[in-house]
């Protein structure tokens, strides 16, 4: 892998590297021998450590537990974290969705209550948007929130709610107005997952795990203090935040992707049969295209960070990056699977470890073109909002 030249005198990057070198056990690095799939508590402790070490909540204000730095430092930390192949966050919906929304529309009291615990991994969040009848067409959601004095009561069904089996809070989108109002009359709540009337029914996923669930809500009480933003403006504020989030969340992706490519190549090169195969012209082309795909992801991320740092708007650029990353990542997973499946029978621990990683990646990767707005939805956004194509003539 051609290494990146570091800007000289980059003190922050040195700090991040040094911290990771000292604090990350090899067992957490998926491309290293001795890696073991971490359990929930290991992940929780590791992520709490990342925050304590200054590597999470980087751009958040100090008074809410953040580190008060800029998005440029956020990028640097993500690059370094991505390179190491560390566990994916078990609280990304808290850190990258709920947190920024609370920061944008929450009251001072809500910021004080929610932000620091989330960074310290004392509160894990999930996102309750999708419903059995409302997926791509989110505005058709039916979960109802009705007034109960100053407080609220919520009933309905959420589905595909990631991390809900172990979450403490749910960023819940529910309807306060009429169904015909579509986007208007949708409100956001910070719902307690241990509130009476919340039932979580895990759903088995294609890889056999159960990271998401159906969440059934039966007359669940929600405190007035847990409503985020006004009942009819929470959603529009959330959409503004989401456009930026789509472009900036999981910013380590390109660098983690590089780690995956390097891992695959190392495993193949260490196996005599695969070493011969990967050196052939067909795989040359496909490997080079993947390198270029990764450079394009970086090409979306790095200039976008600069624009945001300069206070510029980024519009719907997040859709471009998400679309490209998800499809490129799937192409890579297919390549990895195909290569590793050509290994001859017999024990090769490196190939076995890589196969485990990339079989999992292949299966999980199928979701990347579905969640956070499907490929078709992103293409629609580009047609409607970026190209502004006329609708009917």
């Amino acid at each position: 892998m051609p290494t990146e030249t570091l800007p000289s005198g980059d003190a922050y990057r040195r700090h991040v590297r040094a911290w990771l070198t000292v604090n990350v056990p090899a067992g957490l690095r998926i491309d290293q021998p001795g890696y073991r799939t971490p359990d929930l508590e290991t992940c929780r402790a590791f992520e709490a450590g990342l925050h304590a070490g200054g590597l999470a909540g980087i751009t958040w204000p100090v008074e809410y537990g953040g580190h008060g730095l800029t998005i440029r430092e956020h990028l640097i930390a993500n690059q370094e974290i991505g390179r190491l192949g560390l566990p994916e966050s078990i609280n990304s919906l808290g850190k990258e969705l709920a947190g920024p929304i609370i920061m944008a529309v929450g009251t001072e009291a809500q910021k004080q209550r929610f932000l620091r615990p989330l960074l310290e991994m004392k509160q894990i969040w999930c996102q309750g948007f999708s419903e059995p009848g409302a997926g791509s067409d989110l505005a058709g959601l039916r979960t109802r929130a009705v007034r109960d004095g100053d407080n609220w009561r919520v009933s309905g069904r959420k589905i595909w709610t990631s991390a809900s089996p172990w979450s403490d809070r749910c960023l819940l989108l529910a309807r306060t107005g009429a169904l015909e109002d579509r986007h208007k009359g949708l409100a956001l709540f910070a719902m307690r997952m241990d509130a009476p009337g919340v039932t979580v029914q895990p759903i088995r996923q294609i890889d056999g795990s159960a990271h998401f669930a159906e969440v059934i809500l039966e007359d669940v009480p929600i405190d007035a203090a847990d409503a985020l933003g006004a009942p009819d403006e929470g959603w529009s504020a959330a959409v503004r935040v989401l456009a930026i989030e789509r472009a900036t969340n999981r910013m380590y992706r390109a660098w983690r992707f590089e780690n995956e490519v390097a891992h695959l190549v190392r495993a193949c090169r260490a196996n005599p049969t695969l070493n011969g195969i990967i050196g052939s012209g067909e795989y040359h082309r496909r490997l080079a295209e993947i390198l270029v795909d990764i450079e394009i992801i970086k090409g979306y991320v790095e200039p976008t960070v600069e624009r945001l740092a300069e206070g510029e708007a980024i519009g719907d650029r997040g859709s471009l990056m998400k679309l490209h990353w998800s499809e490129a990542h799937q192409r890579f997973a297919v390549l990895a699977l195909e290569l590793l499946d050509q290994a001859p029978p017999g024990a090769d621990p490196e190939v076995a470890a890589a196969r485990e990683r990339f079989q999992h990646l292949y299966l999980r990767g199928r979701a990347e073109t579905i969640y956070a707005g499907t490929t078709e939805v992103q293409l629609g956004i580009i047609a409607d909002r970026m190209l502004k194509l006329p609708r009917e003539r």
Binding site: V265, H284, A288, V292, E295, E376, L379, E392
Partner: protein, 325 residues
């Protein structure tokens, strides 16, 4: 980027677009004058050669306009060569539009005893050029297109408006020599500027597809209302944005050779497919000589060959395999 730079780049783009449009009605020689008067050929060249001595970031919008407007002039080659020649007399002639220069991108000439021989190729518009840069094993040599021992003959590229030519050298005398690092700078710059030109072509073709599908009615409605076609145009837009993103990042990291290579590789891979898709959306009309989709496609395929996109991919893969042995 400061606001001043941003304004300067916008101004460059506008000047370039105007000049490119004007060139369409001129003979090749007159195009040189037109481009020189607009200050475009000397964007990268030294001030002592009459150039502006600006960076590649200023050349990108110029080539973008050239690609968008199908400019029939070896502008990329002239700009890079004028810069590489520093303060030499030929640089000034190129910048002023007195001499048209091109580069033979494929093959190597042999330089022995101060004389050049061999056959090189992929020299766009060498048939109407005055100066040709040919690569040697260790650097490059500039020859006069009409000098003794230099024969220009048609090549076999797809582009008919800026045709690739072959150059046969038989004991030709070089006018000037370039060292390896100067040649490297030319090749690196060319990767970026070809990407910019392809990006421009994609945007022109996408705009044509949007315009055509917005007016063409089938099944009782404008074609643009069919989702399959909307999504096809979204993918064309995505291609244009991929190219733009890779270029922007490469400009931020001038010494990053992978980023530079990726800009060109992204442009060839996504750019050609986008133009082919725009052609498809024109139906039978897209298959006609009069609709310029094929002209863009021919040009892009020629740039791809001039930059040796397949060889570039092979090198990138080889580096990846070496780094992870």
């Amino acid at each position: 980027m400061t606001n001043d730079t941003h304004d300067a780049l916008t101004a460059f783009a506008a000047t370039a677009a105007n000049a490119v449009a004007e060139c369409a009605g001129l003979a090749p020689r007159a195009r040189a004058t037109c481009l020189a008067e607009a200050g475009l050929i000397g964007v990268l060249a030294a001030e002592s050669a009459g150039g502006l001595a600006l960076g590649l970031d200023h050349a990108v919008p110029v080539l973008h306009a050239a690609g968008a407007g199908l400019l029939g002039y070896p502008l990329l080659e002239s700009m890079l060569l004028a810069a590489a020649l520093g303060g030499q007399a030929e640089a000034a002639r190129i910048v002023l539009g007195e001499a048209t220069a091109t580069i033979a991108w494929a093959g190597r000439a042999t330089l022995a005893g101060g004389r050049l021989s061999g056959t090189v190729g992929r020299a766009p518009m060498a048939d109407s050029a005055d100066l040709i840069l040919v690569l040697t094993g260790t650097g490059a040599a500039l020859v006069g297109a009409n000098a003794a021992g230099v024969t220009v003959r048609p090549g076999d590229g797809l582009d008919v408006e800026a045709p690739d030519c072959e150059v046969v050298l038989a004991n030709a005398t070089p006018l000037a020599l370039l060292e390896a690092d100067a040649v490297d700078a030319i090749e690196q710059g060319a990767q970026l500027l070809r990407a910019a030109a392809i990006g421009g072509a994609v945007e022109t073709c996408l705009a044509a597809a949007v315009a055509y599908t917005s007016t063409r009615v089938q099944f009782g409605k404008a074609l643009v209302s069919f989702q399959a076609l909307r999504h096809a145009m979204s993918r064309q837009k995505l291609a244009a944005e991929h190219i733009g993103a890779a270029i922007a990042r490469s400009l931020m990291r001038p010494d990053d050779r992978l980023a530079r290579a990726a800009a060109f590789a992204a442009a060839t891979r996504f750019g050609a497919a986008a133009v082919e898709s725009a052609l498809q959306l024109h139906g039978g009309m897209g298959f006609t000589w009069d609709i310029p989709m094929h002209r863009h496609l021919r040009r892009i395929r020629s740039w791809e060959a001039q930059g040796d996109a397949p060889g570039l991919h092979r090198r990138l893969a080889a580096e990846l395999l070496t780094a992870n042995a």
